[in-house]
């Protein structure tokens, strides 16, 4: 099968630059504004009962 690039930032050659541009609004946006948005979204996850959620995750061991 085809060898794919491991070194392209994010999307490899098959991924299509258009798609990443469409979802992030371009590289500049991704690196500056995007990071703030990301942290805002993370805040939303962490502020909804983070500690209770963690405590609920108890499962007998697997392998």
């Amino acid at each position: 099968m085809s060898q794919q690039s491991l070194n392209a930032p994010g999307g490899g050659p098959d991924e299509g630059a258009e798609e990443s541009a469409a979802t992030t609004g371009g590289q500049t946006f991704a690196s500056a504004q995007g990071a703030d948005d990301l942290l805002d979204e993370i805040d939303a996850v962490l502020e909804s009962n983070a500690e209770t959620f963690v405590r609920s995750f108890v499962q007998k061991g697997g392998q």
Partner: protein
């Protein structure tokens, strides 16, 4: 072996919570709900899919997905990602049923390796090795590589003690108790010796590596297999190998996990010391001698990963390798919130990183922003949900399962056997993992088509 078959088994964590975060269902009940469409179709919670993978419920109510046999490590990554999507869809369906039923309950599937009480579960790599290759000699050379491999392919995480918390390459390192053994749960080893070749036992043996973390990054998953394959080939080549046997593998794996510089001394059996970076570099240099021209990319990426630890320059690693992506993320979030790594919010963040729901997963969120790699093309992942790898025995199993599902013919398959569940049906054995065509399988496919019912086939879960 120039061509090697490998496969990846992933056990998922499962938690079912109410909107307030409290537990809504026990794992057993949540797993039953999750597997409802699987059982409806396959009359079992242990089925093989059209892509020749195995989907089942393992010990401790851990949903598990085992990829089909792959001989190309990008195929393997695609098949692994396909499994995540299959389980993400089953999770979404289960959550829709629970919501329609008016229940305040939401199932999360986590592709990680430890719950909040320290119960561990695994990500198991399988590599086909030659039976004649003196299996007893293998661990001696492989162990130093596996003990230090976490600086490249660890998932990263936080280890907490009474009054402190620190970032580590791999939390799984603390759950390893032996170097080599036949146990899997009691005294979990780095290499498991259960001899299940899933093929002709006179020719093949399975190397079962259970030290790995479940990796979200496709680059991390790829490197686990591509580098281990190269190291195995170097060992098999018969050339002079580095004598890096460690004094205490288990003490070493824990200290390597905690040493983010990769340069702390590790005692060797010979009374000297080495370092994690040195062990990886020695193997990389040796593998360069056996790698072919199509594998130069593996060597380059492996070198970048070693350099990220050696130099402390994370700029490439922080968008490509799980541990470094997480290291940066956790640093940003602790700074922003004014907390340290022991804060429960960080443990919640770690779980959210590994959540396989595309809407909930922090990893997918990073991927959408090019802060984590999307190396395998979208179409290839989608194709892998329906299509087995074409260059191994998986191709045969995939064809039989697909035909049997399409024609509504009852069947039972496992890694080596294909059989229809009707009186007098003879099983077809495929003991060569490299076989991609077999007259007996052609005959079986013909039989399935001729038995095909006119009624519409059942809708499969994938």
């Amino acid at each position: 072996m120039k061509r090697r078959v490998g496969g990846l088994e992933t056990e998922f964590g499962l938690v079912c919570v109410r909107a307030d975060g409290t537990r809504a269902m026990e794992p057993e009940a949540a797993a039953r709900e999750l597997f409802r469409p699987v059982v409806a179709m396959g009359r079992s919670s242990n089925v093989f899919l059209r892509n020749a993978a195995r989907l089942y419920l393992d010990v401790g109510s851990h949903p598990e997905y085992a990829t089909a046999e792959c001989d190309d490590w990008w195929d393997l990554v695609a098949q692994d990602r396909a499994g995540e999507r299959i389980f993400a869809d089953l999770t979404a369906q289960a959550n829709q049923r629970l919501a329609a039923d008016g229940q305040d309950a939401r199932i999360h599937l986590l592709k990680n390796n430890v719950d909040s009480q320290g119960n561990a579960f695994g990500s198991h790599e399988n590599y086909l090795v030659d039976r004649r290759g003196e299996f007893t000699r293998l661990p001696r050379y492989l162990l130093p590589f596996l003990v230090t491999r976490q600086i490249i392919t660890g998932a990263g995480g936080v280890v907490r003690s009474d009054d402190s918390a620190q970032f580590v390459f791999s939390r799984r390192s603390d759950h390893m108790w032996e170097a080599v053994s036949s146990a899997t749960t009691r005294t979990r080893p780095i290499i498991n010796t259960r001899d299940e070749p899933h093929g002709d036992p006179t020719r093949f043996r399975r190397l079962h590596v259970i030290v790995g973390d479940s990796t979200m990054s496709e680059v991390s998953t790829y490197l686990r297999f591509a580098t281990t394959d190269l190291v195995l080939r170097a060992i098999e080549s018969g050339r002079a190998l580095p004598e890096l046997t460690l004094h205490d593998d288990i003490a070493a794996i824990r200290s390597v996990s905690r040493d983010l510089t990769g340069r702390a001394p590790i005692p060797t059996a010979g009374g000297a010391t080495t370092t994690a970076v040195e062990v990886q570099q020695r193997w990389l240099d040796l593998a360069a001698g056996t790698a072919d021209e199509t594998e130069q990319g593996v060597l380059e990426t492996w070198q970048r990963a070693i350099d990220a630890v050696r130099t402390g320059d994370r700029s490439w690693a922080a968008t490509h390798l799980d541990w470094a992506i997480k290291e940066r993320l956790f640093t940003q979030v602790t700074e922003r919130r004014g907390v340290d790594l022991s804060d429960p919010a960080i443990e919640r963040l770690d779980l959210a990183y590994h959540d396989i729901d595309p809407g909930q997963s922090i990893f997918r969120n990073l991927q959408r922003r090019d802060l984590a790699p999307s190396t395998v093309a979208e179409e290839r992942i989608e194709a892998a949900r329906e299509t087995a790898p074409t260059t191994t025995r998986a191709h045969l199993r995939g064809q039989v399962v697909t035909a049997a599902q399409q024609h509504g013919v009852d069947h039972v398959v496992d890694w080596t056997t294909l059989r229809l569940t009707r009186p007098g049906a003879m099983p077809v054995q495929v003991l060569d993992p490299f076989a991609t065509s077999l007259p007996a399988v052609d005959a079986l496919l013909e039989e399935i088509r001729s038995l095909g019912e006119s009624s519409p086939p059942p809708v499969p879960p994938a």
